[in-house]
Symmetry: C2
Subunit: 363 residues, 2 copies
Amino acid sequence: MAQESKPIRFGIMGCAEIARKVSRAITMSPNSTVYAIASRSVEKAKQFASKNGYSDTGVMIYGSYSELLDDPLVDAVYMPLPTSLHLEWAILAAEKKKHLLLEKPTALNVTELHRILEACRSNGVQFMDGSMWYHHPRTAKIKEMLSDSKLFGQVKSIYSSSSYNGGQGFLENNVRVKPDLDSLGALGDAGWYCIGAILWAMNNKLPTTVTALPSLVRNSDGVILSCIASMHWEKEQLVATFFCSFLAHETMDLSIYGSNGSLHLEDLIIPYEETSASFQYTSGAKFAELHIGWNVKPTEVRVDNSGLPQEARMVQEFAKLIQGIIYSGWLPDQKWAEVSRMTQLVLDAVMRSINHGFEPVHM
Amino acid sequence: MAQESKPIRFGIMGCAEIARKVSRAITMSPNSTVYAIASRSVEKAKQFASKNGYSDTGVMIYGSYSELLDDPLVDAVYMPLPTSLHLEWAILAAEKKKHLLLEKPTALNVTELHRILEACRSNGVQFMDGSMWYHHPRTAKIKEMLSDSKLFGQVKSIYSSSSYNGGQGFLENNVRVKPDLDSLGALGDAGWYCIGAILWAMNNKLPTTVTALPSLVRNSDGVILSCIASMHWEKEQLVATFFCSFLAHETMDLSIYGSNGSLHLEDLIIPYEETSASFQYTSGAKFAELHIGWNVKPTEVRVDNSGLPQEARMVQEFAKLIQGIIYSGWLPDQKWAEVSRMTQLVLDAVMRSINHGFEPVHM
């Protein structure tokens, strides 16, 4: 009889704002638990624990990331550190045999990510990045309807946006606009989602060329604040475009245009509400007689999500893969590493296009 | 006392499918009437009259466009001819002192359009193109909310799509894919709306550069079936992108992203229904606490249009300007000519970018 699976013990490495959401998700997920919290100081870690209800739960508190990684009872780490610190700490975590849930963007470039993934592979640990929307049941429903060759047909174009306006304080002080911490700026933080969503819609087929458009806005340190780029699939005669920005109002659009259907949603990354989410789907729309209307209107497809929020589903999936490794001898699943790798590859190509005067970059 | 204004007498020059909708609009508009119908044969004109309820209304039937233009009682013509015929017939109409409601795309290129507009100017006739959506009350409402510098802020990006899948019959036989009739294809027919909508959102400021993206699909005669392009405003650090296609499902998207608000609609050109139309407006959206939702959701702003459909409002506006010329000594209004001219200028730039290997074209 197989050994009974115990909940995966997570160490939270870094007390960023997003760690609040993910630690809650780890607690909500039935197969995981928050076991340890580390920050650069014990005070910060204690403060995080206290603010998020972990003071009386016996959670270990560490004043350095190394101590957390040295704790043999930590199965997996969630790492929301600034991107420039990923390479060092992600590799160290893998070497310490900790399974790795790494915040996006996964690295400053694909070379770094390859080193991280190689460390995970050679140490037999599971890798996943922190993109939550893949795990929402709406995402599966969209893919199902998108894949209906009769109702939707062939994909002809895709558009995505991801933006938020952090305001002056954000633009002056946030980690995401600091060249030494997150030099990819809005492209890494917000564009990551657009690239991921477009690749996802294309069943993870890489584009043939990637081109940044000349609307780049950088801050005085050169960090990208706003950016538009296009991804071209030559054989499919298809271009996808996306807009990512720290200067525009909150948007999370995904529009997919097929030969016989189209779909739209505007809350891809974080649904408007936790317990259900929807998208607009239209198939076979034509002009009505005399072209004074449409023969069909979009249908709102609503997907229940009252069970677990998407981030808890992400943690559950990650922990399930780890349990498989620990208790059933599974090999680490490579699917999520590959999704991250392709996203980072396209992100690199956008950066190269920007650095070469917005020339197309062949993949 | 001013002479009492009589309804403007329209001649329909060409019995295209769209003429059914516009002749209905001329009949609905309180200041205009369908006076004459011309086709290349009397039979075709009669058939159109019969099919659209003009058999017993005393409408004049002409078997050639020239005869219609020679009728001194025709005040204005509506011209839905194939684009390649616009230059000849639009100029002739102006020379015959007929006010000109010209279908879009207005011409094959801006040089042709300049000649048409010059003919209108020198003959003192009013010009307007047949883009109906400008005249819907929703459009005015969108502009009002878009112009709210507090609720919406500055425009940061714009996206538009216009597509429909005509199917095999359309792709083989329709006027819009014939190189000798409508060589601009989907760019002229569908892209016209996207360019117009983007310019409209930018208060008719021309972009600094225009770039076609390398996803062009042409038919075997070289006519554009699908195209994506971008428009860049350098000073505003803003790029708009649009997708137009005869190969994708019916879409008419307009998304405008401001610094503090965003708006979306998906039935710009032809609203889902005639009597009212809506758009989604969001202002000041932020992540909710813990980033598990939004603090505000989009508001559906619905605009009543039970009075007149947008095409009848277009005709009413056009006829009002003509009545002003006839009865009050107004000069022809240049606003609509300028809207058409700028749209055609950008369309020309997209064509030039395509013809120069997708290089940016400076305006």
